[in-house]
């Protein structure tokens, strides 16, 4: 996904002379072409994330379109005050790009895991929060972020993510995408973990459960219409995110459902604890029940007690 982001940025710096990239000493080999295309417009602030974000805000105040890039927690946590005051409160035209969202950095441990960034960014007024699911989606999200005049947090995976959406699937800020239709339960996910949602839907299909899958490429502003339609159609939404269950995407969906007083929301994500388990992303997802098998089991268990009109049929199907 980071190469897809770089590809979109290569086009942007050519199309718009205002676009600048500010780095915090990361991105080795990723932005060579951007630098060649836009000499002087790629600035390395050093290992100094707070300065990176402040510089991006200053560039934006002076009429530039600034992009700041780092590993997600070093941006969303380390530089949070600069993001809050200089970027969000000021409505600065800064796109903050966090690479390695969730547990993409696996073995590198809790300092490199971003499982609270969606909550932190979502709580900031003026902030648009995007979490594309595959390389092409990331490219489109980058373009949308740069087209928007205002603060954006763009959460990326790392590299090697498979294509999940159809090539002509459009990206629009604030709009969810139906990836798979279904009538029994809706699995709503954000980011590359959509792959596990789709895998879970396959597992459920073999058990006779017809699961819909929605991809929310935008966490904020949330597509509340899509949430309400899904609740009306399937009664239950199981949210899936590579993030803590507190305050992120699942929290946002639950807020909508609670205020509407309709339907039921189950949240799949990391529990409220730091991840001390050592392992690759795949290992960590499986360990916390966030792989396809774990998500399918969670959906099935949830349906078993859900007040759904199809409950009896489903119970037979699962058995």
């Amino acid at each position: 996904m980071r190469n897809a982001f770089a590809a979109a940025l290569e086009r942007s710096v050519q199309a718009d002379e205002r676009v600048c990239l500010v780095l915090a000493d990361l991105g080795w080999g990723v932005f060579d072409e951007v630098e060649r295309l836009a000499p002087g417009r790629v600035i390395n602030a050093g290992i100094a994330e707070q300065a990176m974000v402040g510089v991006a805000a200053g560039l934006a105040q002076a009429g530039k379109k600034a992009v700041a890039y780092s590993i997600a927690p070093f941006l969303a946590s380390r530089a949070h005050d600069q993001i809050r005051v200089d970027v969000a409160a000021g409505g600065a035209d800064v796109t903050l790009v966090g690479v390695g969202g969730g547990v993409a950095y696996g073995y590198l441990g809790l300092t490199h895991h971003a499982i609270d960034d969606l909550a932190a960014m979502r709580a900031l007024p003026n902030m648009t929060v995007l979490a594309p699911c595959d390389p092409r989606d990331a490219e489109a999200a980058t373009e949308a972020a740069l087209a928007l005049d205002g603060p954006v947090y763009l959460r990326l995976g790392k590299n090697g993510e498979p294509a999940l959406l159809a090539a002509d699937s459009p990206f629009a800020i604030g709009r969810a995408t139906t990836v798979r239709d279904g009538a029994d339960i809706t699995i709503a996910s954000t980011g590359p973990i959509l792959a596990e949602a789709l895998g879970a839907a396959e597992v459920l299909a073999r058990q006779g459960v017809d699961a819909a899958v929605l991809h929310f490429g935008t966490v904020k502003p949330l597509d509340t219409g899509a949430v309400l339609r899904a609740l009306a159609r399937t009664g239950t939404i199981l949210t899936l995110e590579e993030h803590s269950v507190i305050g992120g995407f699942g929290g946002a969906v639950a807020e909508v459902a609670a205020e509407a007083g309709t339907g039921r929301v189950l949240r799949a994500g990391f529990p409220d604890s730091f991840i001390h388990e050592v392992g690759s992303r795949e290992h960590l997802l499986a360990h916390y029940g966030l792989d396809a098998a774990g998500v399918a089991a969670r959906a099935a268990a949830g349906l078993d007690i859900a007040p759904s009109p199809r409950r009896l049929t489903l119970q037979r199907g699962i058995a």
């Binding site: 780095l23 073995y107 590198l108 490199h112 050592v278």
Partner: protein
């Protein structure tokens, strides 16, 4: 056993860990092996505190702790960067002998200031050592902590900077970089020494010295990847994973390096 032999053992075990796990950052680990060997096996008293702030070189710290018997060598070899294992790529607090959860740069010095201050409040004479990368001193938190340590006059605090001259992106540095660097800490009230970070006698002297009423900074000039000729001074030894098929070539180079020394 000499600290030189210890440094060799740290390098060998760090490489073994990297080979088994296929992990990166080996250049950083090799570069600090002499500093760790002299600190742990030559200078430090048993109750002194050592904080590794540049935790991406964590394999070298884990190797040191294994050689010292603080962590189990066989368990380390089995579980370093393995799914479900006890040891991740960054040394994490909770592992015996590891004082801070590293991996986010620029945290170590401020924690070291807190530890050293607590010792002073409790009338303890132990020392606190903190090893940072030169790159991570970019972080504002390092300057903030340095200013505070100078103001408090923490003379049992010894910061070491692994000055290998490399960091994430190959940005050109000012030719008088280390002069400016020294001036920056000196202005904050630190006693500063610049030494060859692979010279054990120089390291032992610099890490043992004390200046009344002032924290001490040892700028240890090192070569990233030190000990394996084809990794030495190589910027890409930061990112490239060590691959099992390179085992023989790497270990041969390590041995050849020892003979040459």
């Amino acid at each position: 056993m000499t600290t030189a032999q210890r440094a060799y053992d740290i390098r060998e075990l760090s490489l073994e860990l990297a080979l088994r796990a296929g992990t990166c950052h080996i250049g950083s680990a090799l570069g600090i092996a002499d500093i760790l060997a002299v600190a742990y096996f030559g200078v430090m008293d048993p109750d002194d505190t050592f904080i590794l702030s540049k935790a991406h070189a964590g394999s070298a710290l884990m190797a040191t702790l294994a050689l010292r018997g603080t962590v189990d060598r066989e368990q380390l070899l089995r579980e370093y960067c393995q799914d479900g294992g006890a040891f991740g790529g960054h040394a994490e607090r909770g592992v015996p002998g590891v004082e801070i959860s590293g991996g986010s740069l620029g945290h170590g010095l401020a924690i070291a200031v807190g530890r050293s201050l607590a010792d002073r409040l409790d009338d303890r004479t132990r020392r606190t050592f903190c090893l940072m990368g030169d790159g991570e001193t970019d972080e504002g938190a390092v300057s903030e902590a340095a200013a505070l340590a100078g103001r408090l006059g923490l003379d049992r605090l010894i910061a070491i900077v692994d000055a290998n001259g490399h960091q994430g992106l190959e940005t050109e540095q000012a030719p008088d970089r280390w002069v400016r660097f020294e001036a920056r800490f000196a202005a904050a009230g630190w006693e500063v020494a610049q030494i060859d970070g692979h010279d054990h006698a120089a390291l032992a002297g610099a890490l043992s010295a004390a200046a009344a009423g002032r924290p001490r900074l040892v700028v240890a000039h090192t070569i990233k990847g030190r000990g394996v000729s084809f990794m030495e001074g190589r910027f890409d030894s930061h990112y490239k994973s060590v691959r099992p098929h390179d085992r023989e070539r790497i270990m041969d180079a390590l041995q050849a390096g020892r003979i040459a020394a």
